[in-house]
């Protein structure tokens, strides 16, 4: 769950982190009002992805008229599939230096990591590759959080690469201690997987200001942050109900299915994440292109199979579906009956190949065969079968 820039900044501001004065505008009129109030502003598209500037989604304007024109242009934009619903109009900053401060999950250390760098304003992943010595890291104790002395060490290590800031290091480090403590508070309170200020601007007067904000909240923690989810839903959805996300994935979420949309034409359904990933891999190995990832989870009730089949077939590119189910304690004949019923209810005429295991799997395969569905004895053969069937030209 990614927050928009202005939402992240509102949360930063509430925690005592300096952000530039700004106003949200959903119409060109509101943008003009903001410029009237704030003077020279940057009009910034609010979309949950990076690269807005390059896409033309940010404009610096001097007058309300200009603000109106630029906001009208930006609000009509679609940035890589994400329609712009609002713009954040924000006062410009005088910049002495651009720094980076961020908190993210370090999977290898199994902790949050605080990252500080004097090389702000560019992608931190890029800095990590090109100039790893410019990045300083801290892995705080998950119960105590970062201690001031640890943050000072982090800050001095990051500033060691920025000799031009040496003269004001003492004051700067004190500011970074306060800001890091606050940012860590935001990250833990919101279950953030990423909580980033880039650039963190140092003004000529020596203040630290969050010029941009990125916050991504752990999807597993939704139950604690219903308010954020609601706010996001309000902001991302336009009058047409479109969110900018892949429409098939939005529909799958509505149906409670774990689905990822891909480019190919072979529909794939499996149970369990690993097994479903392997189902896609097998299709690819046999020369097919998977149309999707759909994990129906443990078991394989007739209702889940029907829901999944219906979902996969919403994509008109799909030419056939491969269902790969490890039955476990589920009976193979029941899985087979469920699939046949779903096929009949949904009037599916595209080829189906089913590979399943479970008790009574022989009986299940016989039922499928009789119903005109191709039963695969193992996943590899089944993958070969679906690829062959979806490659045949329609007669």
């Amino acid at each position: 769950m990614k927050l928009l820039e202005y939402q992240a900044k509102q949360r930063f501001a509430a925690a005592g982190i300096n952000v530039p004065p700004g106003r949200l505008a959903r119409t060109p009129e509101e943008a003009a009002d903001a410029a009237r109030e704030l003077g020279r502003v940057a009009v910034k598209a609010q979309v949950p992805i990076g690269g807005r500037g390059k896409a033309g989604g940010i404009a610096v304007v001097d007058t309300p008229d200009e603000a109106y024109r630029e906001a009208a242009r930006i609000l009509a934009m679609d940035i890589r599939g994400y329609p712009v619903r609002s713009v954040w109009c924000e006062s410009g900053l005088e910049i002495a230096a651009e720094l980076y401060l961020g908190i993210t999950l370090d999977r290898d250390r199994r902790r949050l990591v605080v990252i500080f760098s004097a090389a702000g304003g560019m992608e931190i992943e890029q800095v990590a590759i090109e100039a790893p010595e410019r990045i300083a890291k801290l892995w705080p104790d998950p119960f105590a959080g970062p201690m001031p002395f640890e943050i000072r060490r982090l800050a001095f290590a990051g500033l060691a690469q920025a000799p031009q800031l040496r003269g004001q290091a003492a004051k700067l480090v004190n500011g970074l201690v306060a800001m890091t403590t606050r940012l860590y508070g935001v990250a833990t309170a919101l279950d953030a997987l990423t909580c980033e200020i880039n650039p963190l601007v140092l003004t000529p007067q020596g203040s630290l200001v969050a010029a941009d904000g990125k916050l991504e909240i752990d999807e597993n923690a939704h139950f604690r942050h219903g308010d954020v989810a609601e706010e996001l839903a309000r902001d991302e959805t336009g009058e047409d109900g479109s969110t900018g996300d892949d429409p098939f994935e939005v529909e799958a979420r509505r149906r409670g299915l774990t689905y990822v949309h891909l480019d190919g034409d072979v529909g794939c359904i499996g149970n369990g994440a690993g097994l479903t990933m392997n189902t896609l891999d097998l299709v690819k190995q046999h020369g097919g292109e998977p149309a999707n990832f759909l994990d129906i989870g443990g078991g394989a009730s007739a209702e889940r199979v029907r829901n999944a089949l219906e979902m996969v077939l919403l994509d008109p590119k799909v030419r056939g579906v491969f269902i790969n189910v490890f039955g476990g304690i589920t009976r193979g004949d029941e899985v087979a009956r469920g699939i046949i019923a779903a096929r009949d209810q949904l009037h599916i005429t595209k080829p189906l190949v089913v590979r399943m295991t479970g008790t009574m799997e022989e009986e299940g395969r016989r039922l499928l065969q009789e119903a005109g569905i191709v039963p695969g004895k193992n996943a590899t053969e089944a993958a070969a079968a679906i690829v062959a069937l979806t490659r045949e030209e329609p007669s």
């Binding site: 139950f223 990822v260 149970n271």
Partner: protein
Amino acid sequence: MSVLVGRGSRVVIQGITGREGSFHTAQMRAFGTNVVAGVSPGKGGSDQDGVPIFDTVADAVAATGADVSGIFVPPAFAADAIMESATAGVELTVCITEGIPVQDMIRAREVVLRTGRRLLGANCPGIVTPEQCKVGIIPNHINRPGPVGIVGRSGTLTYEVIQGLGEAGMGQTTSVGIGGDPVMGLSFPDVLGLFADDPGTRAVVLIGEIGGSDEETAAAWIRDTGFDKPVVAFISGRTAPPGKRMGHAGAIISGNTGTAQSKIDALTGAGAVIADTIEDVVRLTAAKLAGGAG
């Protein structure tokens, strides 16, 4: 021989009265697992099919000597259940629950580490030592004893491997599901280390997937420790696009870390053989057990 659980394991189930907990407790008992206690706060003093229920894990441990716990509580309460179990003195906590917030897991894992005890999962299928003890949700009938140790991130793929090996006459010392979350308890090197010390384990099947770099860490561990048992590795998610979570919270390629190819290269470099399909896993494991090069 076996690792982590065996005939002597005394198992407590946290969340025994819930839908999943009660169903799988019955399955575990049918398997032969010695379930000595259940925990369900507020229901202490009652029993479920003869298994005594306690309000707290500490009470259960004091009364029954439970040393392994299986957790079947909802995600919002699971991290607390893990910490309760480890601090009550349970040696191995197996958390089946899927969907626990990452920051909860960071803290729960830390608490378990400080107690010096072990955590398996979360978001895992559990662990089976055939004919002795099962904690979790792995189907009962597929397991048979034998010389192969299995360790995997994916539940159903682990079942596939157990079943495939079984059909070819190869059983397991112990099958260990470490789970599909980005922050988990026991990791590949931990379990490989246990298999290294288990004389009954003659070959290991490692089932990895995209996301993170635990397979790469396992490869480095194999190389650095001179682990001398054959490893057959299977990696799923070769076709997964970057930036998309593939079912498991941990199965996501971020930037250029976590790709299947990186894992395959690292494991190959460490001397593991890579299986492309489940049938390959079976064939290669049979060859390794027979002393061949696969």
